[in-house]
């Protein structure tokens, strides 16, 4: 038991840099804020490199509060990649909206640190702290366009519901602590395997824990906040909510349920089964009726939580591997799609109704084709990472003989095809109703979008490398 600060080097970099940025904000001046953004980006990249270098380490660190393992590092890299892309995408957005302030990046850094802690945490206290670091930073981020009521409303709804569900989760942690006598994962796992039939309080504790994570990943019926909050939050924050915070919650869930409670199998995979079905159905069906692309993507994000929950319901290593792969694929396509939406939108987040997409297909080919690729991937059509992810997760579910779950998943994704395709229909097959000015596409954004497309397609055609890494990651 020692500190071994090297093991949490990425988090140290993030937090340190976050503090530094916070300190520098006043002195940077108006023009310097962008430079703070790049500084943060550099920090995220550095953290990413650090995580990569830590690949291969084993054991625990920080006095047993965090694990060092492939799973943690894989998740870290994934989360850092998401945050890095979001930081890069956010810069032109913030400038356009006139809210280019260093606070954004500093909050993003803290949120990222919270996420990576969730991924490596070995203790419920640590998990809670990570979650809260993430949440509190994100509450603020959601309201970052403070001049706009929608953004504030979004932040408020996220905040109050987030705090509400956190309370449930905390209560759950309290029960688990009260039964197992410790908040350490290992100790809890030992307690579970030692006296198989744990008292009701433990089961209830686990249930309440699911509420907290279910809220974060937008599992029905705890998804109710997601559409409103996603819609109101600034676009890069929507990305962050949809990808970063969801992925962090999923990896934490995975670790808890795969590593700590494997003995509970029969009980909780029914919960995930039901949750998955509800989530997929509600997400996909409600998305059909949306007229705002951001809100539609919010529902789509709910639906994808459902697919990921299918992997949770499977509860086997294959499922874990599939979830990790899917999360990566999901990061590519969702960040990409929202980035294109951002480019196509006008200041004040205008022009994000589906009708605004009519006939733009052949006018802005790069953007339209990119958006199409991301949507196709989200729809799970092959040659994209989205398909591979679904394929792996469904395979895992079938391995556990969850045939009906897979059939439902397949049917709901068939419904989902409709709304993804509708955007393509609007872009390419309708005539434009007005002549919107050409959007400006910064080189950096073009590069990010290009990179994300590359990721979507390459891992769609040749998933082996990522899949292999994910495989290593789930060897707990």
């Amino acid at each position: 038991m020692d500190a071994n600060y090297i093991a949490i080097l990425p988090e140290l970099i993030l937090c340190g840099l976050g503090i530094l940025v916070m300190v520098l904000i006043p002195s940077a001046g108006r023009e310097g804020q962008a430079r703070l953004g790049y500084l943060s980006l550099a920090g995220i990249v550095a953290a990413l490199v650090a995580s990569a270098l830590l690949w291969g380490n084993q054991g625990t660190a920080l006095f047993g509060m965090v694990f060092q393992d492939a799973f943690g590092n894989f998740s870290r890299i994934l989360l850092l990649f998401a945050s890095g892309s979001i930081a890069l995408i956010a810069l032109p957005y913030l400038r356009r909206e006139g809210i280019l302030m260093g606070e954004f990046f500093c909050l993003l850094l803290f949120a990222t640190a919270g996420m990576t802690f969730m991924a490596t945490s070995a203790d419920l206290v640590m998990t809670f702290l990570g979650l809260e670091t993430l949440s509190i930073a994100t509450y603020v981020l959601a309201g970052f366009r403070s001049k706009d009521l929608r953004s504030v409303e979004s932040a408020w709804k996220y905040f109050i519901l987030g705090a509400f569900s956190t309370a449930f989760m905390l209560y759950g942690i309290a029960f688990i602590y009260g039964t197992a006598g410790s908040t350490k994962y290992q100790a809890i796992a030992e307690a579970v395997s030692r006296d198989g039939g744990l008292p009701i309080t433990f089961a209830v504790g686990v249930g309440l824990l699911v509420v907290g994570f279910g809220f974060k990943v937008a599992m029905a019926p705890f998804h109710v906040w997601a559409p409103d909050v996603y819609q109101g939050a600034p676009l890069p924050v929507t990305s962050h909510l949809a990808v970063g915070s969801k992925a962090a919650a999923f990896v934490a869930l995975l670790r808890i349920f795969q590593q700590v409670f494997p003995g509970l199998e029969g009980d909780w995979n029914f919960v995930f089964w039901t949750g998955a079905v509800l989530t997929m159905a509600i997400g996909n069906i409600a998305a059909l009726a949306q007229s705002n692309i951001k809100r539609m993507l919010a529902y789509s994000s709910v639906a994808h939580a459902g697919y990921l929950l299918v992997g949770m319901a499977a509860g086997n290593p294959l499922g874990a591997q599939g979830i990790l792969f899917y999360l990566a694929a999901y990061a590519f396509m969702t960040i990409g799609a929202l980035a294109v939406v951002q480019v196509l939108s006008r200041p004040g987040e205008a022009g994000i109704d589906l009708d605004d997409y009519k006939g733009i297909g052949f006018r802005f080919p790069f953007l339209s084709v990119s958006l199409s690729v991301f949507l196709i991937s989200l729809a799970g059509i092959p040659a994209t990472a989205g398909f591979m992810g679904k394929f792996f997760i469904f395979s895992a579910a079938v391995q556990e003989r969850l045939y009906w779950l897979v059939v439902i998943a397949v049917l709901t994704s068939a419904i989902g095809l409709y709304y993804y395709l509708r955007v393509i229909v609007l872009m390419f097959m309708h005539e434009a109703e007005s002549e919107p000015p050409a959007p400006t596409l910064q080189p950096s954004l073009r590069a990010v979008i290009g990179l994300l497309i590359l990721g979507t397609l390459v891992f769609g055609l040749y998933p082996a490398p990522l899949l292999e890494l994910a495989n290593q990651a789930v060897q707990f």
Partner: protein
């Protein structure tokens, strides 16, 4: 000595009060206060368990929770101020710009 279960039951009652408060109160600040009640109910539970185990882990956790709650309160109250500014009311039932 009061048995642990009494603290737990008290905690549960507090928690229930808090959660129903969130649902039934329409004022933003009151809602937030109800969430705080829930957090404190959890704190009580943690402390009770901690005492029954004769260890400090739970109590340390409570301190973390309090810190987090404080941070949350800071952010939350700031948001409520902002909300009041933008919407001109704290009645949460009138804050429904985004729906369906």
């Amino acid at each position: 000595m009061v048995p642990t279960s009494h603290y737990l039951i008290l905690g549960a009652i507090l928690f229930a009060i808090g959660s129903f408060g969130v649902i039934f109160r329409r004022n933003a600040i009151t809602m937030f206060m109800c969430v705080e009640i829930m957090l404190n109910a959890v704190n009580l539970t943690l402390v009770a368990y901690s005492r029954s185990f004769n260890q400090v882990d739970g109590q340390i956790f409570v301190i973390f929770v309090m810190v987090v709650a404080a941070a949350e309160a800071a952010v939350g109250l700031a948001l409520i101020v902002l909300l009041n500014k933008r919407r001109g009311t704290l009645d949460v039932d009138q804050i429904d710009t985004m729906r369906w």
